[in-house]
C-alpha cells in the first residue's frame, strides 16, 4: 500500500520536473502605454502571471479524470468569483502562489496598487460576482462579536484571533488582516476555511466579528505580562517558576535548625 502510494507520488512528481513550472519567484510586470484601460492592463497582467494555473479567461486548469494523464489540475475557475475574491487573494499576497500544492500565506504584495486594481477589474469582468464588501465595524456590537467569533471562528483561529492549526493546514493569525479582508474571508472561505453565507452571518454579524477581532488586536493586559497570549500553559509555567523560588525559600525557613 505504502509502496503504491510512493509510486503514485513519484509518478505525479516526475512530469512536473519536465513541465515548465510557473516563475519560481517574483512576478512579471507589463509595459503598457499610458491611458490603457485598467481591464486591458489587467488582462495583460493575468496573461503574464495567472494564466498558467487559472487558465485562459479564468476557466481554471482541471484534469479531466484523475489518473488519465496529461495536464494536472492546477488552479480553480475564476469566472463568477467577482472582485471580492480577487481583491482578497491579491491584497493579502496569497496570490500569485509559487506552486499550487501549498497553502497560500500572507506575503509581500508585489503588484503596485494600479496593477492590483487592474487585475481585480479584469477578474471581475470574467463573470458576474460579488463586489468588494464595505464593512462598518463601528456599527457592530463587541459582545455579539465575541459570541459569534466563539461560535464560528475560534475553533481554528483561537478565541484571541492568534491563529492555530488544522490537520493539513494553518489558520492564520488575524492581527494583520484588514477589516475588508476579514469580511472577504468570511464570505469566500480561503483555502481550507469554510465559508459563511449571508444567511448564516449577515453583514451586521460580520461587522460585529470584525469589531471583536480589532478588539483582540489591541488588548489591555490587566495582569501585565502577556506571555505570548497563548493561554494557560505558558502562564502556568511562569507561575510555577516563581512559585518554585517561594517554595524553596519556605523549605529553607522550615529546615533551619535552632541555634544552640
Amino acid at each position: 500500500m505504502r509502496h503504491a502510494f510512493c509510486l503514485a507520488v513519484l509518478a505525479l512528481a516526475l512530469p512536473s520536473l519536465a513541465l515548465a513550472d510557473p516563475p519560481p519567484a517574483g512576478i512579471v510586470h507589463v509595459n503598457v502605454p499610458p491611458g490603457t484601460p485598467p481591464k486591458e492592463l489587467g488582462f495583460q497582467l493575468y496573461s503574464a502571471n495567472c494564466v498558467m494555473c487559472h487558465g485562459p479567461n479564468g476557466s481554471g486548469v482541471y484534469t479531466p479524470r484523475p489518473g488519465s494523464g496529461g495536464e494536472r489540475s492546477l488552479g480553480p475557475r475564476l469566472r463568477g468569483v467577482g472582485a471580492l475574491a480577487a481583491d482578497f487573494y491579491l491584497r493579502t499576497g496569497y496570490m500569485p502562489l509559487r506552486t499550487p500544492y501549498v497553502q497560500p500565506r500572507r506575503s509581500r504584495v508585489l503588484f503596485s496598487d494600479r496593477e492590483l486594481r487592474a487585475l481585480v477589474a479584469y477578474v471581475a469582468s470574467l463573470g458576474p460576482g460579488p463586489p468588494v464588501p464595505r464593512p462598518h465595524p463601528e456599527r457592530g456590537s463587541l459582545s455579539d462579536g465575541l459570541t459569534l467569533f466563539t461560535r464560528n471562528c475560534a475553533g481554528c483561529h483561537q478565541i484571541n484571533a492568534e491563529g492555530g492549526y488544522v490537520t493539513g493546514g494553518v489558520a492564520p493569525p488575524l492581527d494583520q488582516a484588514t477589516s475588508v479582508q476579514i469580511a472577504q474571508a468570511i464570505r469566500i472561505g480561503p483555502y481550507l476555511m469554510p465559508r459563511f453565507s449571508e444567511r448564516q452571518l449577515d453583514d451586521r454579524a460580520v461587522d460585529s466579528i470584525i469589531r471583536y477581532v480589532r478588539h483582540t488586536n489591541h488588548r489591555a493586559d490587566p495582569g501585565g505580562w502577556a506571555i505570548g497570549h497563548i493561554g494557560p500553559v505558558p502562564e502556568g509555567l511562569v507561575t510555577w517558576l516563581i512559585a518554585m523560588v517561594a517554595l524553596v525559600a519556605t523549605c529553607v525557613a522550615i529546615g533551619g535548625r535552632r541555634q544552640a
Binding site: 499550487p100 475553533g155 472561505g189 481550507l192 476555511m193 453565507s197 448564516q200 535552632r258
Partner: protein, 327 residues
C-alpha cells in the same frame, strides 16, 4: 490471593516481633519532657488532613458544575495540613541534636548501632504513639483514597445512560443556535452548521450535531446508510469520540485537486474525521468513527432526524461498543 494474604500476615508478624526492645543503654540524646500539647496538635492536624482528603472524593461524587477548584482546594489543603504536621513534629517533638561531624562509614557496627539508637531515642517525647499513628494512618488512607478517586473518570461504571439515551428520535426537527429550523435548501456546500434537536436540553451530550453538505459524488457511505444523507447533507455528533471535546473545526478545500479533502476536526487533540466516509477517523487519537445521525427532509423542506445515532455518542471507554443507542 490467599497465598499473598498469608505472606503479608507473616511479614507483619515478623516485623512486630523484631520491634522488641533491646535492653537499656546509655542515652546519646538528652531526654526531653513529653510535649502533650504538641502531640495533640499533631493529631488534630492529621485529622484535618484526613478530613480534607476525604473531601476530594465527596466533591468528585457530588460534582458541582464547573467547580474543579474545590477538588484542587481539598487536595491542596490535605497536603498543606500534612506539611504543617511534619513541620510541627520536626520543630517541637523530635529531640533536636547537633552533630559535630558527619556520620561515620556505615559498615562500622558500633556507629551504626549508635545511629539506630539515636533515631529511636529521638522519638522518646511521643507518649501516645498509637494516637499519632492512628492519625497518620487516617490521613494517609484518606489521601490514598483521594488520589485513586480520579480513576473513576476512566469510564462510566454506574451511570451509562447519557451515552446511549439521546434526544434524537425519528422526526425530530433540527434547529440552529437560535432555535430556527433548518431548511435543507439553506444548507450550503463548503459551509459548516451546528444543529440541536428541537425542544430538547442542549447541554446533553447527545444533543449537538454538525451538519455539512457534500457533493453527492463524493459521498462514500456504507450501503445501509445510503438513505441517511438527503441531497448530500450529513450530520454527525459534535462530541469527539476521543475525549469528548466539541468538533469545532471544519476544513474544506477551495480547490479539491490540490488541497486536503473535507474533514471534521476536534481542536483538542486533532482527531480528524471524514464526513464523506461515515465519520471515519483519518488522523489523530480517536479510536472510533463519529456517530452519524440519519437525516430526512420533510414535505415542507425542513431537515429532520430519521432515527438515532449510529453508535454511542461521547468519549470512548472500554464498554462503548457493547451497546447501541436506544432507538
Amino acid at each position: 490471593m490467599k497465598r499473598w494474604l498469608v505472606a503479608a500476615i507473616v511479614l507483619v508478624l515478623g516485623k512486630a516481633r523484631r520491634a522488641a526492645r533491646v535492653p537499656e543503654r546509655e542515652r546519646i540524646v538528652p531526654p526531653g519532657p513529653p510535649d502533650r500539647g504538641g502531640e495533640l496538635a499533631v493529631f488534630w492536624l492529621l485529622i484535618a488532613a484526613a478530613v480534607c482528603a476525604v473531601g476530594f472524593p465527596v466533591v468528585y461524587a457530588v460534582d458541582p458544575p464547573h467547580q474543579t477548584q474545590f477538588l484542587g482546594l481539598s487536595l491542596g489543603l490535605a497536603l498543606a495540613f500534612l506539611a504543617a504536621t511534619s513541620v510541627l513534629i520536626g520543630k517541637r517533638l523530635v529531640v533536636t541534636e547537633h552533630l559535630e561531624e558527619d556520620y561515620g562509614v556505615p559498615e562500622h557496627p558500633t556507629e551504626q548501632e549508635a545511629v539506630e539508637q539515636l533515631v529511636e531515642e529521638s522519638g522518646d517525647r511521643f507518649t501516645r504513639k498509637r494516637l499519632i499513628v492512628a492519625g497518620a494512618g487516617a490521613a494517609g488512607a484518606a489521601l490514598g483514597v483521594a488520589l485513586i478517586t480520579p480513576a473513576a473518570s476512566l469510564g462510566p461504571v454506574f451511570h451509562m445512560d447519557p451515552f446511549f439515551r439521546t434526544p434524537w428520535r425519528r422526526g425530530r426537527l433540527l434547529v440552529d443556535e437560535d432555535g430556527r429550523p433548518f431548511l435543507a435548501d439553506d444548507v450550503e456546500e463548503e459551509a459548516f452548521y451546528t444543529a440541536f434537536p428541537q425542544g430538547a436540553d442542549r447541554e446533553q451530550m447527545g444533543a449537538p450535531v454538525v451538519v455539512v453538505r457534500l457533493p453527492r459524488g463524493e459521498l462514500d457511505l456504507p450501503p445501509e446508510r445510503r438513505g441517511w444523507a438527503p441531497g448530500g447533507i450529513v450530520a454527525y455528533s459534535k462530541i469527539c469520540t476521543h475525549a469528548g471535546c466539541a468538533i469545532a473545526l471544519y476544513r474544506k478545500p477551495t480547490f479539491r485537486p490540490t488541497q486536503p479533502r473535507p474533514a471534521l476536526i476536534c481542536p483538542c487533540h486533532y482527531s480528524t474525521f471524514d464526513p464523506a466516509r461515515a465519520g471515519a477517523v483519518i488522523f489523530g487519537p480517536a479510536g472510533r468513527p463519529l456517530p452519524q445521525l440519519p437525516l430526512a427532509v420533510d414535505a415542507t423542506g425542513h431537515l429532520r432526524a430519521a432515527g438515532n445515532f449510529s453508535g454511542a455518542v461521547g468519549p470512548s471507554w472500554w464498554g462503548v461498543r457493547n451497546r447501541q443507542p436506544h432507538a
